[in-house]
């Protein structure tokens, strides 16, 4: 795997100006956990669907409130409906949560780089997700399962804070019942009723069934979780240039013009959010860069 899959983006549809917002209608609202929800959107402007690559994001605009970057969490092989999953953490996502079926949401995108699902063909794939980090990785799982025969062993390691924080429960149930996908869950803290694993997500790496020398790792979660995860993957022998992470920074434009999402030499909205660890390792550990 020589290179990161960079900027595999589709040109924004509708208008030439990438700052132009396209209205979408909310078809369904799904409550994923007490503070996390998914929105399923249909285009209003007559465009047919919304093509994207797993890992890409859209800028979502709530009328009069503002705009935020949210990763696409739906199925990339079925792009009639656009699905986003987000956590309520600020003014805009709070307003988004109050939207109802039939309300309008503005969309710009898709923007950014994507997970190397095509380059990973022929390899084992280990997907490590922490918390809301499963959202941008879900399209990867959908994609791989749609092309399952092309991959070796596929492992999903997913950690959350508590059992109540586990997202996409229906999907997880389905995935756990499959023989061609190893799904391991763990939570950081739990009380009595929980019968699953307890411990940070990195504890799953040591015993996950994959061949570290023939494997592509895709990691998404809080930065500190990704730091520990990469260390643990390296302990098992996964190569740097086959390890991929997804970064988060302040994004105001999504197209590399506003400057806010700079991470040293790169713009997270353009070269990221998905990076090959080898390309980012020098800046990844720099404080306040």
């Amino acid at each position: 795997m020589a290179t990161t899959v960079k900027n595999k983006k589709t040109a924004p549809l509708g208008t030439a100006d990438a700052m132009h917002i396209r209205p979408f209608s909310i078809r369904r609202v799904v409550k994923e956990s007490f503070d996390t929800f998914s929105l399923e959107l249909d285009p209003l402007s007559g465009e047919k669907g919304h093509k994207f690559a797993p890992g890409q994001f859209n800028m979502l605009y709530v009328y009069g409130v503002g705009e935020v970057p949210i990763s696409i969490s739906g199925d990339p092989t079925r792009h009639k409906t656009l699905t986003h999953t987000t956590r309520e953490v600020g003014t805009v996502t709070r307003a988004m949560r109050n939207l109802k079926v039939g309300d309008t949401l503005g969309v710009r995108g898709p923007f950014g780089s994507s997970w190397p699902v095509e380059d990973a063909v022929g390899n084992d794939v280990v997907i490590v997700a922490g918390g809301i980090g499963l959202a941008p990785l879900r399209p990867v799982i959908y994609y791989i399962l749609a092309h399952r025969e092309k991959y070796g062993k596929v492992v999903l390691l997913y950690g959350t804070r508590t059992p109540e924080d586990i997202l996409f429960r229906k999907d997880l149930e389905k995935w756990r019942s499959r023989f061609d996908l190893e799904t391991l869950l763990t939570v950081d803290r739990a009380t009595g009723a929980w019968k699953g694993n307890v411990g940070v997500v990195t504890t799953l790496i040591g015993r996950a069934p994959f061949d570290p020398l023939n494997c592509v790792a895709m990691v998404c979660g809080p930065e500190i979780m990704m730091r520990f995860t990469v260390l643990e993957l390296q302990k098992r022998g996964v190569e740097e240039d086959k390890t991929f992470i997804s970064m988060e920074r302040n994004m105001k434009c999504g197209i590399g013009l506003c400057g806010h999402c700079q991470l040293g030499p790169t713009f997270v909205c353009k070269e990221g959010p998905v990076y090959c660890y080898r390309d980012l390792k020098d800046v990844f550990i720099k404080r306040e860069m």
Partner: protein
């Protein structure tokens, strides 16, 4: 904004000059739109009629200077869903906080014929020292567009565009020439929060710091530069001791030069 009941708004006055309330009245062009969007239930500068609470929004002007006020603000907090303080008095103690640097009893005996009737606290303090404040709107007086912006943002459920950065940023956006660099005029702009539209530098004067300290203010560096511009130590104390004299960073800097 939903078409449900209009939010009830109240304006309250503590130790102050009423100038900030007047900023609301000064919104001539927008006042009708405001009156349409909110129900003004209590506004001493505009009407004597007072409607009972609770209120959706309380705008509080003035600082706490008497034991009675210290009690009254708690009552207001209890009947207000959102409490927004407006102006330097309410957010930093105001110009009357200059007394905080001296013994208040000395002032009382000088100013009043019968000091024994005067019941006052020995410090003038901001509202946030007494109750939880949802939003602080700075300025002496506040800027009417900022006030409109806060009300507007609240009504539309968005974050108000009230940036905590320096006056310099809005000053340069406006195309002003830096008075300190080009004319050697001491200016508090680099340590003062934006919001006034860089009013004084637009008229070739140094910023007086009406909007109080900005985020991460480096008053030490600015004061050192004032000295290079031959501003005396006494004058540096005076510059920092304006309408926001008791705001922590300004207070500390003025005290450093008082010694």
């Amino acid at each position: 904004m939903t078409t449900t009941k209009k939010p009830k708004l109240a304006v309250w006055k503590f130790a102050s000059c009423d100038g900030c309330q007047l900023s609301l009245l000064d919104c001539e062009d927008e006042l009708l739109a405001i009156a349409e969007a909110v129900h003004i239930a209590n506004f001493p500068e505009a009407s004597r009629a007072v409607e009972k609470g609770p209120y959706d929004v309380s705008l509080v002007e003035g600082s706490i200077t008497t034991p009675h006020d210290a009690e009254r603000i708690h009552k207001i907090r209890r009947i207000s869903k959102y409490l927004i303080t407006i102006g330097a008095c309410a957010t930093a103690g105001g110009i009357q906080a200059l007394r905080n640097f001296k013994d208040v009893n000395d002032f009382i005996s000088i100013v009043y014929a019968h000091p024994e009737y005067i019941e006052t606290l020995n410090k003038s303090t901001p509202i946030a020292d007494h109750v939880f404040v949802d939003f602080e709107l700075r300025g002496c007086p506040i800027n009417k567009y900022q006030l409109l912006e806060v009300v507007n943002a609240l009504l539309n459920g968005r974050k108000p565009n009230i940036p905590p950065y320096s006056v310099c940023i809005e000053c340069k956006r406006k195309g002003n020439v830096c008075v300190m660099v080009a004319s050697g005029t001491p200016c508090l702009g680099p340590v003062t929060q934006a919001g006034c539209g860089a009013l004084c530098p637009s008229y070739n004067r140094g910023c007086f710091g009406c909007f109080g300290p900005k985020e991460t203010p480096n008053t030490v560096s600015l004061a050192a530069q004032f000295e290079k511009l031959d501003v005396t130590r006494d004058d540096i104390v005076r510059i920092f001791r304006g309408f926001n004299a008791f705001a922590e960073p300004f207070r500390k800097e003025s005290e450093a030069y008082e010694k």
